[in-house]
Symmetry: C2
Subunit: 307 residues, 2 copies
């Protein structure tokens, strides 16, 4: 199905991923920053392992493309994208822990606690989460402190108790609950666990560009619909996908008796919902004209990816 | 030995602790903030458990008293102090985990993973760390975004890879190493694991007050000496203290064959070093005159506390 995605889009996605990889590699280098005392070798190695060498870098790509929509390019969006990717990667390292999802495989490689040890995986996650806010608050990300403070506040809200971390808590609770979640509960869980960070990605672009509030709101609607489409697509992938392409175990949800949009709606309705959400995301971009073509393709890509 | 601490000081410390408790209770309430989707009940309960109802609140006290030195009082220092306390409490919840120090008792109560479960304790820590940056970046902490961004950046540097998290990684490595740490290694470990947050506490006061750089540097020297005194005092307490007063197990270091300043220097030299660091901290305050009397007493208090 990836044939529907244009070559130009794929190239942009790959170029952004390469720039993100190189910036993460540099941020997670051995050199201490002002105020740091030392960077312990094994911890740094685990933080690099959890972050480098994998993934489509979809979240940073969305930051970069959203900022580009307003003509803002360069180090700012790249650094903000890397901060967001650190939060995403820390959450994976913690979610994979034995006390959480207990996964051995991630992106086709041993998970961080398998490659190192549990204590180091916990600390590497803590270090990445903390570093994300360092990167956002650093003047190198934006000259205006108002922008840096707003990025920090928005990321904290998206990633914390009322966002991603809260979503993970709901997900764990669902696995041990007596009754399966109903549709509104699943939608809330997904909006928190996955949607909040994806929405932050596009919001970050608008913040970096100090976009007009009306344009920022339109972009935010796009981000919310894209996030919801991403999660339905995830449920469909888990039901249909194969472990090799995913780089992690497929069929986990059914195995655990977990309610998903596929188990609740059926496969065909879930696909219809996914496609409707893509249309909604694309519609939200209408006011931006042709400049938003890449973001529109990103919504289609998110919905039709096979891993 | 607490008799040397004045009644006025004790009262200030208690008043600050009560204000911190009440602010933390409010920050960790059920009401969602703008941008939050929901606050899952069990996760919130664990975050409250890990944070409320205990501790001297020394770090927030130092923020509050450092800001007061420049005439800044009210919600700003209180909120910044609460953010710092959240970081401190998250680090305790994670350090206590079975994969880390594996402690069952903290402040005389079951540790967070004992009272809830491991997954919830990990997520509660993640949520508290994230929330700390939310609080700092919120306009309610300071009207000037430059101040909010600087608080964020400084806390991230103090708490992350090159500070507290890195110090914890070094501490874990020391426990499994073949050779005991030497004195420079112990001092680096302690400066990272404990010193960095204590120093941030007084730096935060200067940042909130937008203090003159020279005054900020003097206060920072005070914070560094106080942090070092705190850690020697901790090693002395572990060697001399009793479990009931500490609210956690005493004698842990010796039990684990861990090198400390007491094992390296001997008890008397460690005490002499502690007292010299207190003098150094007090000297750094000389330029502030009588206004710094409370901070001077705080340095003596830190060195001579019995828990």
């Amino acid at each position: 199905m990836n044939a529907v995605i244009g070559a130009d889009f794929s190239q942009r996605l790959e170029e952004a991923a390469a720039a993100v990889e190189s910036t993460l590699d540099q941020l997670l280098g051995a050199t201490t920053l002002e105020g740091e005392i030392a960077r312990p070798q094994r911890l740094l190695a685990a933080m690099r392992y959890a972050t480098l060498g994998g993934g489509k870098r979809l979240r940073p790509f969305l930051v970069i493309e959203s900022a580009r929509l307003f003509g803002v390019t360069g180090a700012g969006p790249l650094r903000a994208g890397c901060a967001l990717e650190m939060v995403h990667c820390y959450s994976l390292a913690h979610d994979d822990l034995p006390a959480m999802d207990d996964d051995d495989l991630r992106r086709g490689r041993p998970t961080t606690h398998k490659a190192f040890d549990e204590a180091t995986a916990i600390l590497a996650g803590d270090g990445l989460l903390t570093y994300a806010f360092d990167v956002l608050a650093d003047p190198a990300t934006h000259a205006d402190p108002r922008v840096r403070a707003e990025l920090t506040l928005k990321l904290a809200r998206a990633a914390g108790l009322g966002g991603m971390v809260g979503g993970q808590a709901l997900d764990l609770a669902a696995e041990t609950a007596q009754t399966a979640l109903d549709q509104p509960e699943i939608l809330t869980l997904q909006a928190m666990k996955t949607g909040a960070l994806l929405r932050f990605a596009v919001d970050a672009g608008a913040i970096l560009a100090q976009a007009h509030p009306e344009q920022a709101r339109a972009l935010s609607r796009y981000g919310a619909a894209l996030g919801a489409a991403f999660q339905v697509a995830d449920d469909i992938l888990d039901a249909e996908g194969d472990t090799a392409a995913l780089g992690k175990r497929a069929g986990k949800d059914a195995e655990r008796g977990k309610a998903t949009l596929v188990s609740l709606l059926g496969l065909e309705s879930a696909k219809a919902r996914r496609d409707a959400l893509v249309d909604e995301a694309v519609s939200a971009l209408a006011g931006f004209g042709a400049a938003a073509a890449t973001l529109a393709e990103a919504a289609r890509f998110v919905a039709r990816r096979n891993s």
